[in-house]
């Protein structure tokens, strides 16, 4: 018996060492220690042994059982290690590139638009949206643009055919549809919907019938601002734009108001920038946007009492600001969408 036990342990030691997979291990385990295994068979012989030998044999069996278990545990541990190693595969090369597509990018015009929105948001302006297809009334008449103003020319403005119908853009009467030439039309739609005070910005796409070159694009983007309240002053207008450009370009920036003319503001100004740290524009004043105090005629067209309400409005070209901020020298790059361009702005 003792010899048989010894032989069993030795056999198990040999067999288990050769195992590398779990099914073989389970089979071996059953063969050695399972209910029908060899150890069980030997244990069964214990009953037939003489009574006085039983304690010794029992001890031997327990000893063999212990040894077998140790061998099994070791084999299982080894197999588990092998399994994990197999699951892992070869070690990584941390310098290999990811085969997944590279990072996405936000378009620079979106980045600039959002930066402007954040700056104005801090000063209490909320973003409103308006349609790109507009009508003559919202785009021109309500903004105090005379009926024969050159901006309305077929030369400069895209029109829809006379009989065009737009299901979800309202007309004032039966006036003609066009592609908005500025985001100022959103001022009108907002004021018609909402009672003062109003403090909004409206970024969006606008259209001019321009020949496309390095500085002109037939589609481009503007950001319109409007503040209506009691006792709004020219000084307040200067303050918000100084705040804008200092937020955008730093405290060293200088702004200059220059008298100008727009039908929808009185007084009207153009704003020039000068920034020593901004290369090209550092040397001279660069025109950046237009603004002014809302003309009483505009208030009248939306039913605000110009005796009670005052306000300012401003508008800027998002492309122009983006070109200045990033140093882009050709507006067409914004609409070409070469990834080598797009990846530069994050």
């Amino acid at each position: 018996m003792q010899a048989a036990l010894q032989a069993l342990v030795e056999k198990a030691r040999g067999d288990l060492a050769a195992l590398s997979a779990r099914p073989e291990f389970e089979a071996a385990k059953a063969r050695f220690v399972g209910p029908n295994g060899e150890l069980t068979a030997l244990m069964k012989q214990l009953g037939a042994a003489p009574k006085e030998q039983k304690p010794i044999l029992g001890k031997l069996i327990n000893q063999a059982k212990g040894e077998l278990q140790t061998l099994l545990d070791a084999a299982l541990a080894r197999i588990e290690q092998a399994e994990i190693a197999a699951q892992l595969g070869p070690a990584i090369d941390p310098t290999l590139p990811s085969p997944d597509s590279g990072a996405g990018t936000t378009h620079p015009l979106t980045l600039v638009r959002e930066e402007l929105c954040r700056i104005f948001r801090k000063a209490g302006f909320a973003v409103v949206e308006g349609p790109e297809v507009e009508t003559e009334w919202f785009c021109f008449d309500a903004l105090n643009t005379p009926a024969d103003h050159p901006a309305r020319d077929l030369q400069d403005t895209f029109y829809l055919p006379e009989n065009a119908l737009v299901a979800n853009v309202s007309q004032r009467t039966k006036e003609r549809y066009l592609l908005r030439t500025h985001t100022s039309s959103v001022q009108i739609r907002t004021m018609l919907k909402q009672k003062p005070p109003v403090r909004i910005i409206s970024p969006g796409r606008v259209f001019r019938r321009d020949t496309i070159d390095a500085t002109h694009s037939a589609n481009f983007h503007q950001l319109e601002g409007l503040y209506v309240d009691r006792n709004v002053t020219v000084k307040d207008l200067k303050a918000i734009l100084d705040y804008l450009f200092q937020s955008l370009l730093g405290k060293d920036i200088k702004t200059r108001f220059r008298p100008h003319y727009f039908g929808y503001t009185e007084p009207s100004f153009e704003v020039d920038l000068s920034a020593k740290h901004l290369g090209k524009i550092g040397k001279e004043w660069v025109e950046i946007m237009g603004c002014g105090m809302v003309d009483p005629a505009v208030f009248e067209s939306v039913g605000y009492d110009p005796k009670e309400w005052t306000g300012y409005a401003f508008g800027m070209g998002i492309e122009r600001i983006a070109m200045m901020l990033y140093g882009v020298d050709d507006i067409r790059y914004f609409y070409q969408n070469d990834a080598r361009f797009l990846r530069q702005f994050v």
Binding site: T110, G124, E129, R199, R256, Y261, P267, P296, R340
Partner: protein, 820 residues
Amino acid sequence: MKLSLNWLRRYVALDRPVDEISNALTMIGFEVEGIARTGLSPIANVVVGEIVTRDKHPGADKLSVCTVRVAPEATPIQIVCGAPNCDAGHRVPVALPGAVMPGDFKIKVSKIRGVESNGMMCSARELGLGDDHGGLLVLPNTLTLGTPIHEAIGAGDVVFDLEITPNRPDCLSHLGLARELAAWFRLPLQYPAIKTGEPTAGAPAVPHLLESVAVTAEEDCPHYTAHVVSGVKIGPSPAWLQEALQAVGLRPINNVVDVTNFVLMETGQPLHAFDAKKIAGHRLTIRRAAEGEKLVTLDNKERVLTERMLVIADAEKPLVVAGIMGGANAEVDATTTDLVLESAFFKPTAIRATAKKLGLSSDSSYRFERGIDPCGLLPAARRAIDLILETAGGQVVGPLFNVGSAPATETAIEVTPDFIRARAGYDIPDATMRELLEAIELEIEVRNDVTRLTGSIWNVKVPSWRGDLDRDVDLVEEVVRLHGCDKIPPTPVVAVALPEDDDPITEFNRAAGAYLVGQHFHECANYSQRSGPETAAWFSDAAAKTLGLANPFTEEYSHLRASLINGLLENLRLNQDRRTGATKLFEVGRTFREVDGKIHECLSVGFVIRTESEDAQWLARPAADFYTAKRHLAVIAANAGVTLESLRVERVAAPNAGWQPDHAATFGRLTDGCEARCGLLNLEMLRKLGLAGGVVAGMLYVLPEKVAEAKRRAKYKPFSLFPAALRDIALVVDATAAAETVRRDVAKAARAAAGGKLALENVRLFDVYQGKGLPEGKKSFAFSLVYRAEDRTLTDDEVNAAFQKAQDELTKNAAYAIRK
């Protein structure tokens, strides 16, 4: 508008540096777009010389060896010259040794290719006179040799090129701008003295010169005046007049025409001089043209007129397109002895319409279009007569023909200094404001307001040339402008909080962009216009008919875009060809869809994914497919409050220019607020576009008004904390069966079988199989059912019972068999 500084100084003693004047013009609202200088500042040792001989340089083909006399009677000196025009006899600028030229270039005696050269003959550019470097600047032969060049050429002038905004036609003149600058610099303004008086009242007409003037189109010509000047002698203008006109870019013609142009540029009032003998019947009529009537204008082009156009006609024919351009047939020429001088007011809109229609613009029409001073007609005419008598002789004869009258111009504005300060937002003393307004000739009458404790009311009378001023706010602009925009004080922003959120549309756009950027897409921007044929092919003929612009700029951009995919495909192609490695692009923007002949403006998100790339990867990843696109669309639609899976879906079956039939699908209908389409794009179309491999795309349309409604706050629902019990079922179904239909049937049966005691939480499809082991025309869907109770752990028995019941129920439907 070109403003000559020499000319300006006739009216205001302006001795400031050019930079300061330029800055002043800009700061009072007349942006300086360019400054041109003529003439020379003194340069020592540069004199007028004459080339005496010219010989070829012995050692260089392109050089000449000249001898040049640089003082009367002096011995000529030798100069080597490379200019093509250094011919003997020319008088040219000569820089002698010791001269320092612009750009700090010092002239010395030197040897050029072995030949001694004692100076340099100069081109215009070498003197700093513009860009001409084609040859030597050839000077008039009347100049005395040895004269310093700056004396020969003259001290010159500075000409500002100004942008005059449309509200300020009064400043399309030297006097108008002089008035503004005088106000800014607080200098007196000197109007030119006028000698000519009113013609003798009731003087009889001189019938052989001009018998009558009649206006039959009073609406377009409210005021017309004519003087007759007899006995003029046409000839060249004096030098001062020629120089003045040349400075502002006008070509001198003869003394009379030059005077009318001078007065136009001085006062802004266009004038027209007729040769009296060319006026048939000695009668002028201001009338509408007859339809088809013809006139050859001064530029020698025949103009065909319409009945909307205003002409000045004689008894037989039109002589002038009123306010725009004269005809060749009544031109003042060398033979003219008697003049009729017109000074009139034409309606701006009438002139604008005619000028536009004829495609003809002139200095006169530009001013009439913008509005001339309605009271400036006679002063300008008299000023011109003064100058005609001075330069061409003659005398005024007959009466003043004066038809109609100036349109009403008396404007008075009531304003208080407090109002101006309140609108400006900063303090400007009453006295300062008053000084500023009076400087531009506004007359202020101060009334003390008895109803107020402080302050006064100003009654401000506006001069006739300032038609742009008629409201109190207009005076705010004048004060702020003349006080100096640079004096608007800096101040922090004061912002009262307004409880408004950003527009839900903005938030939707942001969320869509952020998601796709997070999914490694590049955001693009494309034009909102596409071509007609493409719109017809991708959508319909009706769409192409409805979405066309009335006045497109080019055929490729003639229609409002109905999809973002087309632009993105062009971007993919560009990135493919340029090997940038970008294969995933998107755009967020407005699109326009036609439904029942009506345009619907939509918010939209479009994306494209190339399924292949030129850049092989060391490790393969599964390519994108319909299901990739569907997932992206579902996430984006959710931001607009739309559940994509809840929309009616239809596979694209019919041949389609854009999408690959059977490999793309449409979700929902635009008229219900949301429509989406995704899948594989038409492979043939992609091949034609030059895109290699496949492109998977997605396009979501949402009506803006739908997004505005979408905002809802979520409400918490409790969920079970007990374990789930899972059962799998595989059904054999027709190969054509739609997965979602079957899934719903399974869910319905299982839910019914579960009853109220245990909840069927979810039914999820996890396998689709077709092929070996299944009959022809069949496939199998395998679903995983998740059971869970809210209040306890489910027992196997109850789950098994419910599951069995569900299977029994399902197989009652002949379309379904359990796959064993």
